[in-house]
Each structure stands twice: as C-alpha cells, then as structure tokens.
Subunit: 406 residues, 2 copies
C-alpha cells in the first residue's frame, strides 16, 4: 500500500509553550509508541471540535466537559483502544486516566483532556496508563513533535505533520500540527485526530469560532468511506507565548493568522486522505454555483461516497454516467438538468443534460489516469461553492477492512 503523493513532513518548528512526551505504554500492543502527553503553558487557550456520532466515545464526552470548565494544561492521547461502546465503566476509566495525569503533574483532573483511538468495545487496561503516564511525563520536550506524530498513529501507514513560520504584524509566528486517521474506522480501529498549535495569543471565543470554521474547511471536508468515527476530535491551541495578540477576528493580523492556520488544517486533513485505506487516487470534488451550502455538500458527498464512482476512480475509467447518476440521486429538488455542467479538471464532460459535444473518451481517460485531479460540478442555481477531498475504492480497501481480523 502506498499513500498518494505523500511526503512525510520532517521540519517541525517547536511551539513556545508546548512540550510533548511519548512512550510505549502497552495499551494493546507491545514495542510501539502508543501514548502521547502534551503539556500546555498556563497562558494557553484551547478550542476543539468533536465527532457528531451519537455513540461518541467516553473520552470525547469527558473532553468536552473538561474543556467547558477549564483551560486545559495536558492532553493525553492513547492508541490501541478507543474506549468507545464501553458503557459506564468507560466513563470512569476516562476520568481515572485524567486523575492519573493530575497525580503525576500536579494539575487538576479537569485540566486534562483525554483522547483515545483504537479498538471499540474493549475495556481500557488501566495498568498501561499507570505505567505510561509517568513515562510520558518524564519524556516531555518541546522538540518531540515528529515522534508525537508517529505516537498517535494506529493503522496510518505514515505520520502526518505540518509546520510553518510566518511574520504577522512584525511578529514571527509559529504554527505546528499533527494528525492521524486512515479510514474513518478500521476493523475496530477508530478515529481521526488533529492537534494544531500556534504561539500567538488568541481570544478564547475567537479561537473556538476559528476551530469550527477551520475544521469545516478541512477535517470536515474529507471522506474516505463516509463512516464517521466515534472518537473524531480536532484541537486548536494558542499558547500565548509570542507577542502577537488576536482579540478581534476581523483585524488584518487575525485574517492573516486564520489564513495560515487554514492552510495547516487543510494540509493535515488532506494527508489523511492521501494515506486513506487502499487509496490510489486523491480526488477533489468541487461543487459550485449551488443555491445553498447544504445542496452543494449533498451533491459533493453523494458523488464522493458513491461506490460506483469510487470503483471507476480506482479503475481509471472515465465512467462519467456514474457521476451524473450520483448527482441525480443527491436529493436536490427542482434540478434544471440543462444547466448542470461537469468537468474533469478542465475537460468538460456534461452539458445540456448529456455528453458534451467536445468531449472525447481519450480526454476523459487522460484525466482519470492521473493520481490527483478534480471532479468539478456546476449546478447553475446560485453562487455557493463547496469543496471536499476523497479517494477511490480499491481491492486494497476491501482487503484491509475485510481481512484484518480474519
């Protein structure tokens, strides 16, 4: 299995106010990093967005609760066990893991945010946490981002990270983040996670608004198989260690920082697609001239989730009838078929409800042969645009998801 046009990021910049510790706690497997502790400065402000799955995991519930009450000082991430579908015991175990961090570090349990990813439905082995948390704490270092990117992996084939420095209002500002995720859920292996930090100081309400907006433009616009995990979480941290202070979201420096963060979020989200289960293609689905965001997304997701479109992508087969049929069943009412136009990159395939007169099978096949291209759909109903990123459906996807436990 190979990721699509994926280069492992190496040049991490430390973020003032953040230290990371990694250890082999043995949550499920031996001899692999499976626990990461992230320490935040007292000045840090944290925002988060979480899975909308009704069966959200115990740590997600605890995380949201603690985030509402405190400015967190520690984030604890374990792989190997999602602590999902575990009932009341699962909640107690998530709380106990926070207490263990509190005992080790001297903060309160509510200042700890827990994140779990891995098997669903198995009880957490708390002895691994008793072992791992002190070990991760003693490993804390500002230069551990690269190891942390590997430490949060489950079935990812490659670690995912991004880092940049840019001057904003004369202040050199750092943005660094890591993410994980391959399918939305692997054979009981769950979860998309993203942790992105900047050393700027950002007002808490601005940061929370941004986190939602940024996730909606990145992690909430990727889909591999449409299966939302029970544990998905994306955290945005502003450590407040640089002189750059953002309190007004409309200021020029706020907009510049937002733009840089958006790029970081999108790189980290797209890395999950590029490393998607069995992925051989990285495909952008762009829907424009829609009447609403909902209909733009309905069309885009229907195309991106269609098994027939996805197998055609895998086959490099410019089977445009499947794209047409997927758009048609997306639930948008009162379509004017005459106005719908479909392009592969810049090659138009559909106009006036049928095949474009200028289209040739050769031109379509040349695009489908590429490892990375865009399906661009114009609805001719308004001026709204939405974009998402997806992969193909390959034999490898079936193998990964069917053969894992057997």
């Amino acid at each position: 299995m190979m990721a699509v046009n994926f280069e492992v990021f190496k040049d991490f910049c430390a973020v003032d106010g953040i230290e990371l510790g990694i250890t082999q706690a043995g949550v499920r497997y031996q001899n692999r990093d499976d626990m990461v502790l992230i320490q935040l400065a007292e000045t840090a402000v944290t925002a988060g967005v979480f899975t909308l799955n009704a069966f959200c995991a115990a740590p997600v519930t605890i995380c949201k609760d603690h985030l509402a009450k405190t400015n967190p000082r520690y984030l604890l991430i374990n792989t190997g066990n999602a602590n999902a579908g575990t009932g009341p015991d699962g909640y107690q175990n998530a709380i106990d893991s926070c207490k263990l961090v509190a005992q080790t570090t001297g903060c309160s349990a509510e200042q700890v945010l827990p994140f779990s990813t891995g098997v669903i439905g198995e009880p957490l082995d708390m002895t691994a946490f008793e072992r791992g948390i002190p070990a991760a704490f003693s490993d804390l270092s500002r230069d551990n981002w690269e190891r942390a990117a590997s430490g949060i992996m489950t079935t990812d084939t490659l670690p995912k990270g991004f880092s940049t420095q840019c001057e904003i209002s004369g202040v050199m500002t750092t943005i660094t983040g890591i993410s994980k995720g391959a399918g939305m859920i692997m054979p009981n292996m769950a979860t998309m996670l993203g942790f992105i930090a900047t050393d700027a100081s950002v007002d808490k309400s601005v940061l929370q608004t941004w986190c939602k907006q940024l996730a909606d433009a990145s992690f909430n616009r990727i889909t591999i198989d449409g299966d939302t995990s029970t544990n998905d979480s994306c955290m945005l941290i502003a450590t407040g260690k640089s002189p750059l202070v953002i309190s007004d979201a409309d200021s020029a420096e706020a907009q510049q920082l937002f733009s840089e963060l958006k790029n970081a979020f999108q790189v980290l989200a797209q890395a999950i697609v590029r490393d998607g289960e069995g992925a051989t293609k990285f495909v952008t689905v762009e829907v424009s001239t829609a009447a609403s965001h909902k209909e733009a997304l309905d069309v885009a997701y229907t195309v991106a989730h269609s098994p027939l479109v996805k197998t055609a992508l895998f086959a490099s087969d410019a089977n445009w009838g499947r794209i047409l049929a997927a758009i048609g069943r997306s639930g948008v009412e009162n379509f004017d078929l005459e106005k719908v136009q479909i392009f592969l990159d810049d090659v138009q395939i559909v106009e006036n409800g049928g095949r474009c007169v200028s289209y040739t099978e050769e031109a379509g096949s040349a695009i489908f042969a590429k490892s990375e291209f865009a399906i661009r759909i114009q609805l001719g109903r308004g001026d709204i645009e939405e974009t998402l990123w997806t992969t193909d459906l390959s034999h490898e996807y079936v193998s990964i998801n069917a053969d894992y436990r057997s």
Copy 2:
C-alpha cells in the same frame, strides 16, 4: 460469482390478457435476447413507480407521460442501452420507439410504454428497434414469461421471476412477475426493472396506490450499493380477465390480493439482492421501536450502506463496533444510547450503550458465518418498524465495477 440462496424460478403461470415476445434486436450485443414486447389486453389497467433520480432517463419521462394519458397496450423493454444522459435526441428516440410499436401493432404511440436499460450516454441505435419490434411482435405468446425474464437481463447472472395462483373469493387468481437488476448501476449498465401482473380486475386508483405501497415494501427496500439508477421502473398490471373485481381497497378480497402481490414483489426484489454484484451474503436489516419511518430508514440505510459494515459482512467478522458507529452517525437526534439494543438474529450484542454482558465472540461469529441472517436494531423510541435487505461488499464487487471497461 454465485448468487446467495437463489433458485431460478421455472413454474410460470400465464396471466390471461398478457402475451410476451422476445427477440435478438442487436441493440448493443449480437446473439442475445435484448428486446421484450409485452402486449396487454384492452381491459388491462397499469400502474407504475419510477426512479427519483433527477437525471432520469428519456424513456422514464416518456413512460410517465404516456401512463398519465392512456391505458397502455404495449410495454417495450430493451437492454444494452439505457438511453440516459442523451439529451433531446434521447427523448426523440424514446418517442420514435413507441411510434415503431404503434406502426407494427396498430395502437397509438401513447399506448406504448418504453423501458431501456444498459449503457448511459450513448445514442440509441434505432435500426435495432426497426428490426426488433416486428420480430418481437411475431413472437408474442402467453407462455413466454420465462424467456422474458432472461430477455430483460443485463449483468444479472440469473433470471428473476415468480408466479403463484391463489383462490380469492372463490376465484382462482394468477400473479406472475419478472425483475432484473444486479448493482444499481453496473459500468454504465443501469437499472432495476420489475413487471408484475395479475388477471384480476383492479380499479386504477387502487392499483396506483398499491403499486407505490408494494414498491415501498420491496424494490424500495433493497440496496446493494446505494446508487439509484437513472432508469428504475416497477410496473403493476391488472388485466381484468378474471371474474375477481377489486374496487374497494379495504375489502377482504382486496387485502388478500394485496398480501399475495406483496409476497410476489418481495420475492422479486430480494432476488435482485441475492444476485447482487459480488454478493456472498443476504442480510436483513430490521429497525424497530423507532419514533418515525424516516428515522427507522435513516438508521437502516446507514447500516446497510456502511462500507465498513459491508466489508465485515464479507469477512464473516462479527465486528459489532461498526454497526454501533453506523447507527450513531445516522443523524437521529437525541438518541438515548441506554435504550438501543442490537441483535444478530436472536443473539444480543449491544445493551446499555455497550457490549451485552451475555454476548460472546463465538455466538456472534456463528451468526456472521451464515449466508443469510438479520441485523436487528431496537431504538427504544416508539413503535415504528422498517425492514430492508442488502448484501456485503466483496472483492468481486470491486472487480465487477472497476475492471469491466478496462
């Protein structure tokens, strides 16, 4: 590829008032039956339900138009070309095919309903219709149901039919039907079709209401890959040749006929699933104690369409976390997780938001090893129930849909 627990139906009873003719018209391929003409008695009443895909094919549009204006005398079905995504020329070709039937048979063009299934986006070869229609007409016979079942196949591996006779109010009544469909769309090969006839006399408005209700309990409750075709059509014909007259849908004889028709519709619909692309499992998804039909269907379809649930079915892996996660992302609001219960046949896997205490991996695996079983989900919110039927996602599915044109 083998269909799941599928026995080819052989004992067709003719329906008074219906004759069928089959021919090799050469619409796309040579040396295979690809055109079926069905002649209805003047006394026959016809009802239909059609795809909701906004990009519905030209023959579907013409079919709906003609059905609204007349009591049809002929149904013309061709395989090899769906006449979908063909723009204005497609409409003209569909109308012209009706005119050819009218010329051959002496009816009016509006008394002909056209049905097409096959490649999307290619113009119809009208010379095949000029050749085929007279040949099919001269082949008309009341005993041709079995050949017609084969004549409407595209990528189906087996012909699908059902026939029964039952006494209703002292009148021996015949119900006979055929259907086709394997994926919702194969590599440009489209369409579910169903044609079911009885010799009873049924009031037209009752028949139309029934056709919708029956399709909703059968063809609209099957899903292989979630891709609704541009050409799906289901027709219910009452020839009025037997002394049984149904004008009041609430009468005892009406309810008995409805019940017999429902069985026929479900057998024909389930046959499509059993012969689904790459299917190795036939799975019933039953959602009960829901607050509404919409939420019951949302849950059932989310589970049935989840690639992770489907690959687990293929692997015979009792990976119940995937079922749980699919239910959780189905969009039902204010779930009380404590009340959700999940069973595999009679083996309970989930209670109180976690794994059932009595559940064992062995018990779950024993069910998943079966070729046919039910995933039963109780939501604990009301008294509504919905059932649908689906298959697994196998390597064969990817091969069929990815390798066909390559």
